[in-house]
């Protein structure tokens, strides 16, 4: 980040712009980049999900709008924009309008916390992980508000189910996170990534020593995102559409956008914690091997971003795959699964990690 900052300031002073303007505008750049990238990724994700689900189920998926259906999501988004925003007459107007916004904004915040490469880390606190968890838990509020304010019984059920579900699955997430934090001796996502660059390459990434934590966290994140098989809050065959039954037009689109951006953010988060973040799976970066000097250095940033996104897309693929195969869980089994199974083994995982750190701490120095 510092390196980019100096480059930017240097560029501005060359053109006689005072440094104070550079200081202020510098932080607008990452926000803009995040926003644009996020929108593009969400559009791509929706298309990818529909295409993949189509292939899983012997269909073609969207293939009419644009070449290979590439503009399908754009067309859908446009349609949603043009639709009338209906507020049910018995709804709580203020809260009803607030909920979709609350869903979307945390996704923007958490994306800023991810170390995309060794330099691109927009918000760099020592306790990044903690802040991530706080903001990633925000949508629960939005879904509860949305479900309650709609004044629809199905929405209310959706909101309530979501609260009990997220409460149950936050704890396993926290405990498996503690395992990673113990191994890396840091709560900073950048440092966690760096701690994974050991002599063992791919096997040295935290998914290997912390395999239980990885699986527990993956399952819990599925539950937090309301993804299948934990999609009870919006169970179509039971609750019509759950908390967003009454939403239409742009508000519905915001819910949708929020869901997919959180999916993307959580996939990035998982890749950073367990799959080595921006590290190359080959040990050495391709760009440094093939290109030397300054070009290689600039290409390196892009390569690191590429690896991170690739890993997160792998996780998203698995998530979609699971959706194609599994039925929905029953609500009480769902809670039991978390409290009686995931939580104990995530605590066990933490103990294992402490022992590992004590005896073999040298590997992750």
């Amino acid at each position: 980040m510092n390196y980019l900052y100096f480059l930017y300031i240097e560029f501005l002073t060359k053109h006689n712009v005072p440094q104070i303007i550079g200081d202020i505008t510098f932080y607008c750049i990452p926000i803009t980049i995040i926003f644009i990238v996020l929108l593009l990724v969400v559009l791509a994700l929706v298309l990818a999900e529909r295409k993949l689900l189509g292939w899983f189920t012997q269909r073609k998926g969207p293939n009419r709008v644009g070449f290979w259906g590439i503009l399908q999501t754009l067309a859908d988004a446009l349609k949603l924009l043009c639709k009338e925003n209906i507020t049910p007459s018995s709804a709580d107007r203020f809260l009803f309008n607030l909920a979709p916004i609350l869903m979307f904004t945390p996704a923007l915040v958490v994306l800023g916390l991810i170390p995309y490469s060794s330099e691109f880390m927009f918000v760099n606190f020592q306790t990044n992980v903690l802040i991530y968890i706080i903001f990633a838990g925000f949508p629960i509020l939005s879904i509860l508000i949305g479900g309650w304010a709609s004044n629809n019984k199905y929405s209310l059920f959706g909101g309530m189910r979501n609260v009990s579900q997220v409460l149950a699955y936050e704890l396993p997430i926290a405990f498996s996170l503690l395992g990673v934090i113990t191994l890396a001796s840091s709560m900073n996502l950048g440092k966690i990534t760096l701690a994974q660059s050991t002599q063992y390459g791919v096997l040295g990434w935290f998914w290997m020593p912390c395999i239980i934590g990885f699986i527990v966290m993956f399952i819990s994140i599925l539950a937090e995102l309301n993804r299948c098989p934990f999609d009870l809050p919006e169970a179509e065959s039971e609750l019509i559409c759950g908390y967003n039954t009454e939403y239409s037009g742009m508000r519905f689109a915001l819910f949708y956008l929020g869901e997919y951006s959180l999916l993307f953010a959580n996939a990035l988060f998982l890749s950073v914690l367990f799959l080595g973040g921006y590290l190359s799976p080959f040990g050495k970066y391709i760009s440094t091997v093939f290109f030397g000097g300054q070009i290689g250095e600039i290409l390196l940033y892009f390569e690191q971003v590429f690896w991170l996104i690739l890993k997160s897309f792998f996780i998203i693929f698995v998530v979609i795959w699971i959706r194609a195969v599994f039925p929905r869980m029953a609500s009480f089994d769902l809670l039991k699964f978390s409290w009686a199974f995931l939580l104990p083994i995530s605590i066990l995982n933490l103990l294992l990690m402490v022992l590992l750190k004590y005896f073999m701490g040298g590997v992750y120095a």
Binding site: Q58, S237, E238, P327
Partner: protein, 364 residues
């Protein structure tokens, strides 16, 4: 006085998993169902009253709309009434054609149920897989009868024309055999599916018998009652009714999957008979101006959703004095009152789905 602590929820009539327009008035305590009151009639078309105004042949095209997923069975019932009344004997080939198409229809109906049930439980893919196989059957129906559903293919005293391309059916049975294994791999080995269906919606034998439940739902509760064993179309066919003891949703699901195999066996035997009797030999009944002798006539058959029967009282006119349909789903809907009590909302969907209720059959 109504209890104000309870939440009253209208499940339906427009709800994704009520398979049509069933309305369940639920009283919920949290997610627990305190009472369930099914409300039917949203699809009432007056099928029985209509019969009293139309001549037999005018009424006939509407009968397979009673259950659009198993139209052949209702055509068969109505044709049987006419044939019984006029003492017309069917030739061997016509009988074999009817068995073949009925059992194919049963397979199509069960395949649709398997897909739709998994959809109710939240799994998206099996729906498309079973529809893919069902499509083959419908394609064959279209080839033979000109229609995918509502075929109107059986006519009084025979069939509309001779059957052909039996190789297609043989080929389909081969495909189905491998695909059933695929369904078992994706569904039966799925822990979440087992968790959601095993031990849920237990239907005790006496409850089922008192509720006049028939078909797969009854046989999955351990009662050996299959009306195919008594039916004269099925004389000379070998098959074993699927009777299982589990009583829960999972058993009902398994029973339907196993019935696919049994129906395949029946179809194979029917194909053998078709090969032996190549002459159609049918004596058709002149439908225009058809009058049944005065009296009461009754026919029954094992439809995919339980016993279906038709009762006609004739006073010698060209239309029935009274006509009554008995359908399996109607009784299954009534059963929901008992089965859903004390269950949770998402189990309720699994239980209601497992009974294979189809609304046009209930409302008639």
């Amino acid at each position: 006085m109504t209890n104000t602590n309870l939440l009253k929820l209208n499940l339906g009539p427009q709800h994704p998993s009520t398979h049509g327009v069933l309305r369940l008035i639920l009283e919920l305590d949290g997610e627990k169902i305190v009472s369930c009151k099914p409300d039917v009639g949203y699809l009432h078309r007056g099928m029985e009253k209509m019969a009293e105004r139309l001549s037999y042949v005018q009424y006939y095209p509407t009968v397979d709309r009673i259950d659009y997923l198993a139209g052949f069975f209702y055509s068969e019932l109505f044709c049987e009434i006419i044939e019984k009344a006029l003492n017309v004997e069917l030739s061997e080939r016509v009988k074999a054609i009817r068995v073949l198409l009925l059992e194919l229809n049963r397979i199509a109906s069960h395949l649709l149920w398997i897909g739709a049930y998994l959809m109710d439980l939240g799994a998206v893919s099996p729906f498309f897989y079973t529809f893919r196989e069902r499509e083959l059957i419908l394609k064959y129906f279209e080839k033979i009868t000109g229609q995918r559903m509502m075929n109107n293919y059986f006519i009084f005293g025979g069939v509309r024309r001779d059957i052909f391309d039996i190789e297609d059916v043989e080929e389909f049975l081969e495909i189905l055999k491998t695909k059933i294994k695929d369904y078992e791999r994706i569904i039966d080995s799925n822990p979440i599916f087992l968790q959601r269906t095993k031990g849920k919606g237990v239907l005790e034998q006496n409850v089922a018998l008192n509720g006049a439940i028939t078909g797969v739902n009854l046989r999955a509760s351990g009662v050996n009652l299959d009306f195919r064993t008594k039916h004269k179309l099925y004389e000379g066919y070998e098959f074993t009714p699927i009777v299982s003891e589990g009583k829960d949703c999972y058993t009902r699901y398994r029973a339907r999957v196993l019935e696919l195999n049994e129906s395949s066996k029946l179809i194979k035997q029917a194909i053998e008979k078709l090969k032996q009797n190549s002459a159609l030999n049918q004596t058709l009944i002149q439908p225009i101006g058809l009058k049944l002798p005065a009296g009461e006539f009754y026919s029954e058959i094992e439809a995919p959703r339980g016993l279906a029967s038709c009762y006609v009282k004739s006073d010698g006119e060209n239309k029935p004095y009274r006509l009554k349909w008995r359908t399996g789903s109607y009784y299954a809907v009534n059963l929901l009152r008992k089965l859903l009590k004390g269950t949770y909302l998402n189990d309720a969907i699994a239980i209601a789905g497992s009974l294979d209720i189809i609304l046009p059959e209930v409302d008639k």
